[in-house]
Symmetry: C2
Subunit: 357 residues, 2 copies
Amino acid sequence: MDKPKLFTVGPTYVNDDVRAEMSNQMFSHRDAEYVKLHKELIEKLRKFFQTQNDIFIYTSSSTGCMESSVRNCISEHGTGLSMVCGAFGKRFNEIIAENGRNAVRSEVPWGKANLGEQLEEALSKNPGVEAVTITHCETSTSVLSPLEELCKVAKEHDVLTLVDTVSSMGGTEIPIDRLGIDFCFFGVQKCFGVPPGLAIATVSKKALEKAATVKNRGHYFDFLNLKKFNDKHMVPYTPPMPQMIGLSKQLDLIFEEGINNRFERHRKVSARVRDKCKELGFSVFPDEKYASPTLSCISVPQGFDLKGMYAKMNDRGFVLASGYDKLKETTFRVGNMGNVTMDDVNEMLENLEEVIQ
Amino acid sequence: MDKPKLFTVGPTYVNDDVRAEMSNQMFSHRDAEYVKLHKELIEKLRKFFQTQNDIFIYTSSSTGCMESSVRNCISEHGTGLSMVCGAFGKRFNEIIAENGRNAVRSEVPWGKANLGEQLEEALSKNPGVEAVTITHCETSTSVLSPLEELCKVAKEHDVLTLVDTVSSMGGTEIPIDRLGIDFCFFGVQKCFGVPPGLAIATVSKKALEKAATVKNRGHYFDFLNLKKFNDKHMVPYTPPMPQMIGLSKQLDLIFEEGINNRFERHRKVSARVRDKCKELGFSVFPDEKYASPTLSCISVPQGFDLKGMYAKMNDRGFVLASGYDKLKETTFRVGNMGNVTMDDVNEMLENLEEVIQ
């Protein structure tokens, strides 16, 4: 990995080949050359996701996908439920309210996962819920909630599932169709290691049918408009073509590595981070049973000089991520999304050991 | 210019230096390095625009800016008026309606400009209008409507001005503060010659004050959220960093060329296109008094083989833009936005002459 060595939680390190490919000259987004790019990219994504759902190209960050799902999958005066176990689950819930929908939430303390029985209880309490938002990997706490049991409960209640896989997609298996995820989205700057500016979402037939009944969906994030153009291998407006080119190249590299090898690498590297951090006298912030394979949130002892640690690591060329929101003063985070190898992380951990001693 | 030579209406040709700069390694969007990039970019844009207004970074295409302006500058059940003289003015009006606002429009035949007296009449007929949308350069017809008289009338009626400068900003002078433009937006892939994926908008104090009174502004395009982060030299979510880096570099190149030299180049090159096309037996589609200096919409004689012309020009490495929407079969368009020089256009026109003979 080049210096500085990024153990951030996105944007993550971008391979030279991807950056080189992205620096190609532009062409018109209404030409045959574009249609070819769009078509090939969707085919590669479909192979990766193993889904029959539509796959949309969003000219936005992942937050735009949240707004899109809310405006299309919850009626104008309908109710959306959010499973919350950290800052990003909370944001998803706020976006429901900010778009004029009725927002309810079911919350567990930070560090815990959202579980199926919790969703069961929340849906029983709120019988009118049209869609539930789930944060698969909660980037603020590094918890990976169990998608399978959550989706199972949602399906039993015939509620749409809107799933934030921003910091998990590409780093762990998410069988979209088998789980029954109606709307699944992520930004390319996390586990896919592409520069930011492009988000991708899969949209089920059921979600599209729902959208057709929802008023005031707006224009920019309207499912039906996106689908109309997607069916022609286009986007309604000018998309972030360099990032699309980069993602297409990155998917080639991912297939070369092997999808399962990639997941295994994430799992092993994150386990190494947690084990070594415990050895160094830190502790793992989340319930370890639900620790994400893509990033780790690490608690430091009281009075520990976090700022000093970041500065010393920066001097050595390593960038760690600070704790998020209310965990800023008590935790730090280590991202291993995308292209981070065991060698990269071992080198970083050796330096961390020297720095804190 | 490299082959293929782009005379499209965006994405336009990108300079080698800009593409090289964009291929740099990524870094965190919450780090000091990002803050420096954001701050410097805004300072350069402010110098270019000569405005005291806030300047927002949109992680979207220009269409996202349209939606943003509608959701922030027109009350939930308020009325927006659109001045329409082509396809993009119509789209802006539809976005008002699609966001649940009351949309009225004042239309002239395609090829004509929207004028001050037309706006005066429309505002007199619709006394409740909160904001007027104006398409400065209508990309479908190549008409440049006279902003100064339109803004003057809007100001007299105390109506907010939402101005689409997508295909004019960077190619002709738009003195934002002097004209009194409340919301002025464009995408970087037109006259700025940067790959697509980033839009920029200037937002007046008055527009921000209005937004504070509007309910249901959503989250992603909310002025107040964008301003809160912009004041810290950040964006609420991960922005398209490569395009920001590219735009910053491109602005350096623009200042080197000289802003006024750049405008003069656009004016002269577009005049050359129109003159030569008339010489070749075509005619200029719009009212020439309002012909844009950034692109030209050219009418062909009845029965003229447009498809054959595009194909033959493509074989020679030149890409022209087809007519838009209802003008598809009767016109073609020549973009000269961004980096197109007189030599480029002369070479293209010589080839065009050979091709049609």
